[in-house]
């Protein structure tokens, strides 16, 4: 859509300047980053942080950091968070160096173990002291893993306060994705695939010039504040009906279904990667479908990137940020104004909009990106776990505990009953 050459140039210059680092933390995180295939030009650094030297050696990632050698002698944390914590604390300087001078840091971690659960929040805390935007992809252990689950929940709570965007991928949910009868191991590869698609979509959006271009400022505008809740969804389609297929997959993505409260999203970033055959009519269709799905009540930031190598093939990725929860059950409700429809933003601009949301005390500065000041991390804890997310409609109500299970979470989900939603 951009015809203004000067504008295009600006975009390009900025794109090449952008420094992105994707850091795998712990064993599972390193594996996921190992499997990443970033097919965009530019400065995307891959790094791995682990206590287990042997596992790191097997990785093809360029930048490797063994932490806590003095603590574990390179033998891993053995699932113990204390060991992981000591390890990461002993290598503070190295981590500082690892994350220095980045625009965007993406942490990839599998929570529930010793290294990842301890190191990820620690790295996030250090990253919070820099000016970089920090996003996290975190897989969560299965419900039946008990102790690992509680470790993961605690770590998740800490992470949430410190990063701009946190995408959690509960293994229970991922298991629903695989074919019937497949093992739990399958969930890991599903997780890695999704992380891969999410990261790739982000990098493509940031580093390639788009038909409807979204740059780093757009991403910033979605993730202005730390804390809160992030919704991530991805869908792809190919063949004659590729728009419909991609939209279908996008809306069916289980990560998208963390309940039923789209009305509370502050901002939604939609990125579409398609081939040259993706005309404006199709883009319009996608936009209107997405807007319809979100009831058009939110700010949708829309980006479209054309990848010449694609033909009849489409990838859509959604990142949405929901604000911090108000105190959950308050007797005297002050929600009088919420019935008023929110302002609808076109979300089509070439540059990012400035948030006018009254919840945001410090709007992003257009020219220079928001500073730490914008992200006062004193917003209270958001009680959010993998299961919590599944409570959907009941999210804001008191937990429904019965024999250590939350009855608000769907029964099929807790019992691991697989629901096949595609007709055979």
């Amino acid at each position: 859509m951009t015809t203004d050459t000067q504008n295009l140039l600006d975009v390009c210059t900025e794109a090449t300047d952008l420094k992105i680092k994707i850091i795998g933390v712990g064993g599972a995180g390193t594996n996921a980053v190992d499997e990443l295939k970033i097919d965009v030009p530019g400065d995307v650094g891959l790094a791995a942080v682990n206590t287990d030297a042997k596992a790191l050696l097997n990785s093809s990632i360029a930048e490797k950091l063994i932490i806590g050698h003095t603590v574990t002698r390179g033998l891993g944390a053995g699932g113990q968070v204390d060991v992981g914590r000591k390890a990461v604390e002993s290598d503070r300087e190295a981590i500082e160096k690892l994350i220095a001078e980045m625009d965007l840091i993406i942490l990839v971690v599998g929570l529930g173990g010793g290294t990842g659960s301890a190191a990820a929040p620690f790295i996030a805390e250090m990253a919070a002291k820099t000016e970089s935007l920090v996003l996290v992809f975190a897989t969560l252990p299965f419900n039946f893993e008990g102790a690992r689950q509680s470790i993961a929940e605690e770590s998740l709570g800490e992470l949430r306060k410190r990063v701009h965007g946190l995408i959690s991928l509960p293994n229970d949910m991922l298991l629903q994705e695989g074919e019937e009868g497949l093992s739990a191991l399958n969930a890991f590869s599903v997780a890695n695939r999704w992380i891969g698609r999410g990261v790739n979509s982000l990098c493509t959006m940031l580093l390639k010039t788009g038909l409807i271009n979204q740059d780093f400022n757009s991403l910033r505008s979605v993730f202005q504040n730390r804390g809160g809740k992030t919704i991530f969804s991805t869908g792809s389609g190919s063949g004659s009906d590729y728009v419909k297929d991609a939209l279908g997959e996008l809306f069916l993505c289980p990560l998208f279904h963390l309940g039923d409260q789209p009305a509370i999203f502050d901002r939604i970033l939609v990125n579409v990667i398609g081939g040259a055959d993706l005309g404006i009519a199709k883009v319009n269709e996608i936009m209107s479908q997405v807007a319809k799905r979100f009831d058009s009540r939110e700010d949708i930031v829309f980006g479209v990137v054309i990848d010449e190598n694609r033909n009849e093939s489409l990838e859509i990725c959604i990142l949405a940020k929901a604000g911090m929860e108000q105190s959950p059950v308050s007797k005297s409700d002050k929600k009088v104004e919420t019935t008023e429809p929110k302002r609808i933003d076109e979300g089509l601009g070439l540059e990012s909009e400035i948030a006018q949301d009254d919840k945001v005390p410090h709007p992003v500065h257009k020219s220079k990106l928001s500073k730490k000041a914008a992200a006062a991390a004193n917003q209270g804890e958001f009680d959010f776990t993998s299961l919590e997310a599944q409570r959907g409609y009941f999210l804001k109500t008191v937990r429904n505990l019965y024999k250590n299970e939350d009855l608000d979470v769907p029964t099929y989900f807790r019992r691991g009953i697989k629901i096949k939603i595609k007709p055979s």
Partner: protein, 404 residues
């Protein structure tokens, strides 16, 4: 001239607020002279989440019903539900005091005091004391007074609730300036109207599955021996479907009503169900099995939880629940739910049928609690009725709230 009193039964449910207005003539005749229903706002799982919204909704519904009946309401009977309601079974004991060892009222009072005088924590309040059978020297007796014996015992199922929540309900009714005569937990109200005395004698489990809660009551030998609330209802089925099929809540609700079944059959795998049926963008086909598996898991779990509570209380024995399981409440409309209940409990299970000579509109399972409240208004004062109100309950709560 026979006295007539206008009473309103108010049920503040998760899905709807229902108001029935009854005219009590004398002490045995009840005419339903008005009713009104409105979708509930501000209630989840039977718990008020938005007091103002609930208040407005209840007031509007009561006003409408009052207008329809063209009579002023004298008093209100309100049903209570929610996870906060708990109960405890206590046995009270008293040694017969008179020298001739003939049981007198004073001994009975002592035994009752022994069973019901147990103090609750500050934040709890008694809602019902439900008397169970008497025993005299270890033998069950209908009425020990005037009989000879050493020791009388009496069991009480005492129901208590969270004080703050109960007060919220009081506030709502008092806010319209109508006298709140009594609060009755939903399960007891439903049970009162659905069961004949003979059913209660034979033993029956009434399960009222509403939108946000499942309220149940077990009768044995004519007594209410246990009540319970499972904070799970039809809303959960909708939420599960919304999550499982990844569709909007509204679509999930529509699918539940249109295609829902409480159990999964093997044929369901090959049967397709369309979300909207217009085959447009956004419409998609689900295997029926996806729908029924989600519902089956949930419905089975609800019944299992009830069964577990009964088993833990050592009250679950098929031989003493001869009438079987009676299902009511809006969710009892779900196809096949009686079969699932039958399977889980291993008892005969059926949907309740309201036999009273009333408007067919009011015979729906959704109304059984409200009808039960009216039934209670008519018979509740009866001495023989096994539910006794704690003395001064309302006065005590009212004084906390500075109501007169």
């Amino acid at each position: 001239m026979s006295e007539s009193k206008i009473v309103a039964a108010v049920e503040i449910g998760t899905t709807k607020v229902a108001v029935l207005i009854g005219e009590i003539v004398g002490d045995s005749e009840l005419n339903i002279i008005g009713h009104s229903i409105c979708s509930s706002k501000g209630v989840k799982k039977g718990v008020i989440t938005d007091l103002n919204a609930v208040s407005d909704c209840v007031h509007a519904t009561i006003m409408t019903a009052e207008k329809k009946s063209r009579r002023r309401i004298n008093e209100v009977y309100l049903s209570l539900t929610g996870n906060h309601i708990e109960g405890k079974f206590n046995i009270g004991m008293a040694n017969v005091s008179s020298s001739d060892k003939v049981v007198q009222q004073i001994d009975m009072d002592k035994a009752k005091e022994d069973a019901t005088g147990i103090h609750l924590p500050e934040d709890r309040v008694y809602i019902h004391y439900i008397r169970n059978s008497f025993s005299l020297d270890g033998h069950l007796v209908e009425q020990p007074i005037s009989r000879k014996g050493e020791r009388v015992q009496v069991g009480y199922w005492s129901v208590n609730g969270d004080k703050a929540i109960v007060e919220d309900y009081l506030r709502i009714i008092n806010g319209i300036g109508i006298h709140l005569s009594d609060m009755i937990i939903s399960s007891i109200a439903s049970g009162a109207v659905l069961l004949e005395d003979a059913d209660k004698e034979a033993g029956a489990l009434v399960v009222d599955i509403g939108g946000g809660t499942t309220d149940w009551v077990l009768y044995r030998n004519g007594f209410i021996v246990r009540t319970g609330v499972v904070p799970v209802g039809g809303d959960h089925i909708t939420n599960d479907l919304s999550s499982g099929l990844r569709i909007h809540r509204k679509s999930a609700e529509a699918i539940k009503i249109k295609n829902g079944r409480a159990y999964c059959r093997s044929e369901d795998r090959n049967e397709g169900v369309w979300l909207f049926g217009d085959r447009g963008i956004g419409d998609c086909e689900f295997p029926m099995a996806a729908i029924t598996k989600v519902i089956e898991a949930r419905v089975t779990e609800i019944f299992q939880i009830i069964k577990e509570s009964l088993e833990e209380a050592k009250l679950f024995s098929a031989a003493e629940i001869v009438t079987g399981v009676i299902l009511t409440g809006g969710t009892s409309r779900l196809e096949g739910i009686d079969q699932v209940a039958g399977k889980v409990f291993g008892l005969e299970a059926r949907r309740a049928e309201i036999q009273l000579g009333i408007d067919p509109d009011l015979r729906k399972p959704e109304y059984s609690t409200a009808l039960g409240l009216l039934h209670y208004a008519l018979t509740g004062q009866d001495e023989k009725y096994p539910s006794v109100k704690p003395a001064g309950f309302f006065r005590r709560v009212m004084s906390i709230l500075n109501f007169d």
